[in-house]
Amino acid sequence: MEPNDDDEPLGNPADSLALIARERANLVRDIVPDPRWMYWPWGIAWLFGFGLLFLRFGPGGRVFVDLPAWLPLTLLSLSFMAAGAVTGAVGARSALQTRGPSSRQGLMYGLTWGISFFGMSLLFAQFGDAMPDDKLSLLWAGGLVALAGALHMAGAAIWNDRPLFVLGAWTSVTNVAGIVAGPGWHSLIVAIAGGGGMLLFGLLGWLRRR
């Protein structure tokens, strides 16, 4: 066969090492989902959903914006579903580029989020008439945030990913702080600290891999 240009070795070891680093970074960028697409939809959903919850069910029963009582939780659920659909699609797109243990792990982890959120939501939906609206909101919000924090920490354990563990632990701590502070405060704390934490996490992850 005729030798062509790229059959030639590079002249200098430093160039070769740079080439290696470049090609490795290229494939990582192509097969690992962009952290912005994985975390920003959730950060936005939390800011928006829990923000609305705070405005309708403020601390001490205060109503900052007089929305229908059913609206905040409905919009919160819808924004969670939208965020789940975006991250699910982005994650699946990456997973389809590869095959093997890593993509199986990713698939199982993604399904874990979907299945556990469904189960917990179904449980909470049984209590619609059993308690006042502010307590009900705290039950939904506190339960779902606790689950999200736990799943982030579990993901960190699977991939030995310290920053992800920090995100999960931070989410869990803000959730506990909010629960202790009570209905209303919980929504505000989780919207800003939890949602903001995910926006920041997506940004840092993106900067790190650029």
């Binding site: 590079l10 070891p13 192509d30 590869t98």
Partner: protein
Amino acid sequence: MTDSTELDPVIHAQARLRVVSALSVLREDDRVTFPRLQESLRMTAGNLSVHLRKLEDAGYVEVTKTHQGRTPATFVRLTRRGRLAFEQYQDALRALLNPSSRLEEMP
């Protein structure tokens, strides 16, 4: 380069070094689809096939043809032997850059 006798001739060619570098990102037993690899490396399908065949002949990569539903799909992975060759190649490059540290360079 005068010292090229100790550099692995299979991956000394620039194109094959690029292929092996990209594949080295995958964890053991993970495979990447041929089109993804091709796009990531910005090579033509024909060119990539030629280099994959040479790497396959050396036992450095494994190419699997399978089906995703009805469409045929080709997956590529780096073998253990390929990974070892790649690591040794990288070590050799670093040793060439910094000959004095050759003895201490035990990864």
